[in-house]
């Protein structure tokens, strides 16, 4: 039996077979592995994005907390950052005393990580009530100041001479180094 196929059909058949083989090899050798990689990359990216969203949420939450803290404690934060000025202190607080003298600003041991400075104060008051008002005002002043023991009250005619040490707390360790003695009357 003789099969009579024209040469043209043989070429077409060969071309079809070679295309088929190319498609198979290209698909299995390149396209399918690349597709798998694409799927993996997409999943990984989705995971990364989900993680990023978590970080973003936590970041926003932390930022909100920080802003709230900053706004609630504005006075404290500013007070810790302000260098102690004896002149300004006296100007602000001399109304409580008949005379006020702030002197000897000296660096003392750091307390809880904050720099502390000791300031000696001598003053004259007409009544202990003035001293109570001074202590009230101290908590609203521009600095974080604690009155320390020993406190000395001595009668001087109609007045009371008082001398005490104050501790100024600051988070700026260099600002107070140049502060000097000052007298206000």
């Amino acid at each position: 039996m003789k099969i009579n196929i024209s040469r043209q059909y043989v070429y077409i058949l060969l071309l079809s077979v070679s295309l088929f083989l190319f498609v198979i090899i290209f698909s299995f050798g390149i396209l399918i592995p690349k597709g798998k990689l694409y799927r993996e990359s997409r999943l990984e990216l989705l995971k990364e994005n989900a993680e990023l969203r978590k970080y973003q949420d936590f970041h926003d939450k932390t930022l909100k907390q920080l802003k709230e803290l900053q706004s609630k404690n504005r006075h404290v934060i500013t007070a810790f950052g302000t260098a102690f000025s004896p002149d300004r202190f006296e100007k602000q607080h001399k109304s409580f005393f008949s005379s006020l003298r702030v002197s000897k600003i000296a660096r003392s041991e750091d307390e809880e990580g904050f720099a502390t400075y000791e300031v000696n104060t001598t003053s004259q008051i007409s009544s202990p009530k003035n001293f109570y008002n001074f202590l009230d005002a101290l908590n609203k002043s521009n600095w974080i100041i604690g009155v320390n023991f020993p406190i000395d009250f001595k009668r001087d005619g109609e007045m009371i001479k008082s001398s005490f040490t104050m501790k100024v707390y600051t988070d700026n360790k260099d600002k107070n180094a140049t502060a000097s003695e000052s007298v206000a009357k």
């Binding site: 396209l31 994005n49 970041h59 990580g113 202990p128 001293f131 009250f153």
Partner: protein, 177 residues
């Protein structure tokens, strides 16, 4: 001499069948390469996006760390400020209590408030007034109380009252403040 009424067709190797096959081949190959190009492009964009995400995450992490540091620092500042403010208020109350403690008949000339004690200098009409009206309340506060008297010019008695607390109690009060 003509044998046919129609014009003879030109013979070409690209027959209509071949044209159809080539079109099909071309479409197949274009689809294959387009898919491949799409995958390559996506792979590139994913890599780029991932890199950006990682960088953003790194930046956020650093920001969070910085903010947490700031938060803990502010909390530390707040705690210390509150401690100092409370100490001032406690001191104010202590001084107020001290002056309230002194009866009208006794006049103080000098008061020294120490961390663990109190030293008073003053004048009293007699020992009984001092003992009942000043020393008794002082004894209820302090553990050790020492008093000494010497006569004043007007016949009254000048006194020095030294009062001390136990170290442990002083420390306790200090830590409470």
């Amino acid at each position: 001499m003509k044998y046919s009424y129609i014009k003879p067709r030109k013979k070409t190797p690209i027959t209509p069948e071949l044209q159809i096959i080539f079109t099909f081949f071309a479409m197949t190959l274009i689809m294959l390469f387009l898919t491949y190009a799409f995958l390559l492009y996506k792979d590139y964009t994913f890599k780029k996006e991932r890199q950006t995400t990682i960088e953003q995450k790194k930046e956020l992490k650093a920001n969070i760390k910085d903010m947490q540091k700031q938060i803990s620092f502010i909390q530390k500042q707040k705690a210390l400020a509150e401690k100092v403010f409370t100490q001032n208020m406690v001191l104010k109350d202590s001084i107020a209590n001290l002056f309230d403690l002194v009866p009208q008949r006794i006049t103080l000339s000098h008061a020294k408030l120490l961390k663990n004690g109190l030293i008073l200098y003053g004048i009293t009409p007699n020992k009984d007034v001092y003992n009942f009206m000043l020393q008794a309340p002082l004894r209820s506060i302090f553990h050790k109380t020492y008093s000494s008297f010497y006569p004043a010019k007007n016949g009254w008695l000048m006194f020095v009252s030294k009062n001390y607390m136990d170290e442990a109690q002083a420390r306790e009060l200090d830590s409470e403040n």
